[in-house]
């Protein structure tokens, strides 16, 4: 029997996992089992964390359908190739700081790109949190405040601006790019002071 995960090696470890009252069996080679156990993936979530958490498969599908619809609309009445090129890609949410998308989160097996992602993908995350957390609100400890507070916000803004700068250059919007560059310098200077 081949390993369920890598589909290459012979499966030597057979696991019966009870999840949601159902018995799921999993056959793994020693290597995959070791790496899964290390990552804690032999626990309740099994193999596809991102799908289990966010139903990202469904979100991606919806986006593709929107894309197809858009492309159709463009074909029927498009005369301006430049605007067509710009608008045929109706993007899902993109994190302004790290640039991650739902697809990227899926690739990363349910991990997010940065703290700002929690705001960008709030709807998706709130839904998921309902499924696997016991509550929606943090009731535990909070960090002791310290003098360096708000530095984090500057770092996040710096990254957002760098991303925006890249986009401006790609779109050949040099005016906006210059604005970004100035802001970046300003923030960098403030961070260097600290």
């Amino acid at each position: 029997m081949l390993c369920d995960h890598c589909k290459k090696n012979e499966a030597t470890i057979h696991i019966k996992e009870i999840h949601d009252g159902k018995c799921v069996s999993l056959n793994l080679c020693a290597q995959c089992a070791a790496s899964k156990e290390e990552k804690g993936e032999l626990g309740a979530f099994g193999l596809n964390l991102a799908d289990a958490l966010f139903h990202i498969g469904a979100i991606t599908q919806k986006l593709q359908q929107q894309n197809a619809a858009h492309a159709g609309a463009q074909k029927s009445g498009a005369s301006d190739p430049e605007s067509a090129a710009k608008s045929t890609i109706p993007e899902g949410p993109v994190c302004p700081v790290c640039g991650w998308t739902p697809e990227k989160i899926r690739e990363a097996n349910g991990k997010l790109g940065c703290p700002e992602c929690y705001r960008t993908f709030a709807d998706m995350i709130n839904n998921a949190v309902d499924h696997f957390q016991r509550g929606k609100t943090h009731l535990g400890k909070h960090p002791a405040s310290h003098p360096g507070h708000a530095e984090g916000a500057l770092h996040a803004e710096l990254q957002r601006l760098r991303r925006e700068l890249q986009n401006c250059v790609r779109k050949e919007d040099y005016e906006q790019a210059a604005v970004c560059r100035d802001r970046i310098k300003e923030i960098q200077a403030r961070l260097d002071e600290k």
Binding site: G21, K111, V129, Q133, L139, H142, G152, A156
Partner: protein, 353 residues
């Protein structure tokens, strides 16, 4: 410090060796906290520059706060270590496989006695860990809570009033806390009661690691029980719930052992005796056979079947028979077949009456 790995190897692992004898069923208690810095991408989205910046900041904070006794702490940069040395960290439960395989920005800081450590740039930028022998959730929490407070005075964590500590994966959101107890449950396994018991544990919203069901005995009858949910309850509530379930499991294991002794005494004695025989007289021992035999021997020691054998010697072997430790102790790289021979000779030597 000359070669920190060599120094590590000379020390007994505290979580295996310092347990009071009455804590024989719960082997160790571990709590991990996931933390990230405000304004920096999580490790999976970070480039080398950003990962290194985080690594430097955390290293500095650890030094400034004296949280791990640094600079007298161990410091490992896995990306620059030999593969075998990395495996040592894994076998001593100081690092995860995922962490050791990351290409850049990773660093491990470890207190001198190995009880507390910080993995920098694992799945989250900081993974604090405290591990102690036996069943000591309150004590371990107090220790890691202090470590966390000391660090947070020097670092700005990514934190949201409603969602708590923001983590790379939303399964750790909120408290960012994963508390776990490693249990040795050979009685429940032998009595064929482990399946239903663990099913019950899962229903209580706890996670079980360890392999149960078919082929259950080759992991040494070890089960790690931990909290599943991290958001919506305080740390104290999560720990109280876990504590209650662990206490119940320990009672069940004790009952299973007593029942086996009363109803099926010779089957139990036979299994323990054969395991001891295998460890004392084999010339080739696979990892799986050694673990399963050590588990049964440990049960025998717990039940006072061997007057002179100390549990510490058995516990030490649980670590020493692992491939990397075996090779480091031998001082040579060994093939799997050579390891089996070496493992058998180690067990013979250590357990010889």
């Amino acid at each position: 410090m000359s070669d920190p790995i060599e120094t590590l190897l000379k020390n007994p692992v505290s979580f295996l060796c310092d347990a009071p004898p009455e804590e024989d069923i719960a082997i160790s208690t571990r709590i991990r906290l996931a933390r990230n810095l405000a304004g920096f991408p999580f490790p999976s989205a970070a480039d080398e520059e950003s990962a290194k910046a985080v690594c430097d900041r955390v290293t500095r904070a650890a030094a400034e706060s004296n949280a791990l006794g640094c600079p007298d702490c161990y410091r490992f940069d896995p990306a620059e270590m030999a593969p075998l040395d990395r495996e040592i960290l894994l076998e001593r439960r100081l690092a995860s496989r995922d962490f050791l395989e990351r290409p850049f920005g990773t660093r491990l800081l470890v207190r001198g006695d190995e009880s507390s450590s910080i993995m920098i740039n694992e799945e989250d930028q900081l993974r604090l860990q405290t591990i102690r022998p036996g069943f000591r959730l309150d004590e371990v929490w107090e220790e890691i809570n202090t470590l966390d407070d000391e660090l947070s005075a020097h670092l700005e964590y990514a934190y949201d009033d409603r969602l708590g500590y923001l983590t790379s994966c939303p399964t750790n959101l909120g408290t960012g806390m994963r508390a776990s107890v490693m249990l040795h449950l050979p009685g429940l396994v032998m009595a064929d009661a482990i399946g239903p018991t663990m099913q019950g544990v899962l229903k209580l919203n706890l996670a079980v690691r360890g392999i149960f069901g078919e082929g259950s005995d080759h992991r040494g009858d070890l089960f790690q029980i931990s909290n599943q949910s991290t958001l919506g309850e305080s740390e104290a509530q999560i720990l109280a719930h876990l504590k209650m379930v662990i206490e119940q499991l320990i009672r069940q294991e004790k009952n299973a052992r007593q029942r086996l002794l009363a109803q099926d005494r010779y089957t139990l004695l036979d299994q323990v005796g054969r395991a001891y025989g295998a460890l004392l007289h084999s010339y080739k021992l696979s990892s799986a056979e050694a673990l399963s035999s050590l588990s049964k021997l440990r049960l025998g020691v717990d039940l006072n079947l061997f007057g002179k054998l100390e549990i510490l010697r058995v516990n030490e072997l649980f670590l020493a028979i692992n491939p990397a430790h075996l090779q480091k102790l031998t001082g040579a790289e060994l093939s799997e077949a050579e390891r089996d021979v070496r493992r058998a000779s180690l067990c013979r030597a250590k357990l010889h009456p």
